[in-house]
Symmetry: C2
Subunit: 339 residues, 2 copies
């Protein structure tokens, strides 16, 4: 397995990306191609001992900044950016997967332009494993598609289930359609129309689920439009910060609590770890012709290393081929015009 | 102020409703009308000492159960239900507000049928204060309207801001439109079209906000369609259960942590209290001709008492009149056909 790592993406580029890539090459034995400004990458690489590792550097002089407001236009106009160059390496077969902790929109646009969609996929979707009471739940879509149609929701379900099964190792994942009520008649018109499609999909569809079913772990795949999914995942992130802050307050509120907080420190750290969705390597873009992992911009080297591990597993399990087969099997959903 | 309390609503009816109503009458001096099965109510009342309190009982033999799947039809077909009778008491001026911790859909339907909409309001909306890092944020709509149009979002903002100002005491509340990005160009087509309406509304509109801005307290009013709002509030509820469970695990994981957990107990209880959205009395239905509070079905007597307090404040501050004036002032949004 050979994996492209975008050296210029993320809040701590190129340090975190290079350090994480070196660690992945060393610990997992994967081939790594670092793409970005060669001088910056070589300077960073010199801090480690990459001898004997299967690592290459591909120069890409342009950088798409984390605060770029028009990422699609930026990707189009910079064929020499790390994103464009890196995706091209996957397209031409030099590498099997692309990993970035950079701009989500740029990763999305780069994948669409350079890799293209899997035959039959109407809309690629962003998925992320979310930690719950009973293991991770794949939330899909978390932001690639703002306005969706029922057939898109079906495809999100097929792709999300493939990811849950192949990458997270969940056998016959329980798929739920997120709605504002469990009853069949609840939901937007698109959600209601998606229900019969899911029922006849052959997936392990468990019906409409509500917001609380996600953190409680009642489904393995939670299907959402990208607007709701994006609001939800960001809400969860903010709520996580809030809980962290409240716990710090609670552990320093008075002298007794402070002692208690010290004694609970290890235990609370383990709890935080268990709930850290970055432990899963970040979001994956499903439905394009290649494995694309887009980790959180704040990822450290450990986060990048995890993203590489997830990417390699997706390649080895043939996630792309499995999605293609699943989409081809879905009734009445062959390749259609771009919608 | 005279407030109708639905004695038959909620998981602990009639006990919680009656006990809470008695406490509210005693501690706040409000007039209370308990509506429901008279025998049940009188039996429950006999456990307390209601002498000298301004309390009345109105008999309503029918009950709409918490698991009713077709609440609108149930309300229509049972003019003798506690919901229908109670709403009628508000409509005819006998009382000023209706409080229930029963079926949300039944409360909504009863208010629509019996009270009707405020002149100019296209769609009444459910709002709830949500605890954040910096005080409560009013989330509106959390489930009354699944499919909404831009002008509905504007009305939700106007109504939510009135509630934040009059009931929560927030001067010139910061209003944010929840979207999948802060930029103007982000969002569903309805969200994008709502932006100019909000910009020219005269409200303290701070722009598009993202999911994390709610728990972080960056807005006082978060405007959402009822589908997204419902998924979000239920997700938050599930996440709250998850955190509670994880904290219990963390406080019992090993002997050291167990001692720590005991020492932190008071501090953690205060944290839970600070985050308990039931402390705000539950959801309020905005846009109908009367004050309607719909508390959580699991509310205990304290929850009912709080809901009565909130209802009374809304009456005293003339929430309904203020919303009517705000809607009338909004440009191009006079009374229209029901949409």
């Amino acid at each position: 397995v050979r994996i492209v790592v975008d050296a210029m993406g993320g809040d701590f580029a190129p340090q975190a990306a290079v350090e994480g890539a070196v660690a992945a090459a060393r610990d997992f034995g994967h081939g790594i191609i670092l793409v970005g400004r060669e001088d910056d990458i070589r300077r960073e690489l010199s801090l480690y001992d990459p001898d004997g590792l299967d690592m290459n550097v591909v120069h890409a002089p342009d950088v798409i900044e984390m605060d770029e407001l028009a990422p699609a236009a930026a990707v189009r106009s910079t064929p020499d950016s790390s994103v464009s160059r890196g995706m091209s390496l996957v397209r031409d077969g030099t590498a099997n997967a692309f990993v970035t902790v950079g701009h989500t929109g740029a990763g999305l646009a780069g994948a669409m332009f350079r890799l293209g969609r899997i035959h039959g996929v109407r809309r690629p979707a962003l998925a992320t494993p979310f930690p719950t009471l009973r293991g991770p739940c794949v939330m899909v879509d978390i932001g690639a598609n703002t306005d969706v149609r029922p057939e898109h929701l079906l495809q999100f379900a097929i792709m999300g289930a493939s990811y849950a099964e192949l990458v997270l190792g969940i056998t016959r994942p329980r798929v739920g359609l997120v709605s504002n009520g469990e009853e069949r008649g609840k939901g937007t018109s698109d959600v209601k129309e998606a229900v019969p499609l899911l029922e006849s999909s052959g997936l392990n569809y468990v019906g409409n689920v509500e917001g609380h079913d996600i953190p409680l772990g009642n489904v393995d795949v939670a299907v959402l439009d990208g607007f709701t999914g994006n609001v939800l995942i960001k809400f969860a992130e903010g709520a996580g910060s809030l809980v962290g802050r409240l716990l710090r307050d609670a552990a320093t509120g008075d002298p007794v609590a402070t002692v208690g907080g010290l004694l609970m420190r290890g235990s609370l750290a383990r709890m935080r770890e268990r709930m850290d969705y970055r432990a899963y390597g970040g979001a994956v873009l499903l439905g394009v012709r290649g494995v694309v992992i887009i980790g959180h911009g704040r990822s450290d080297a450990e986060g990048v290393k995890t993203a590489v591990r997830v990417a390699a597993r997706a390649v080895q399990a043939d996630l792309v081929g499995t999605i293609a087969a699943g989409i081809a099997r879905a009734p009445g959903l062959g390749a259609g015009p771009i919608q």
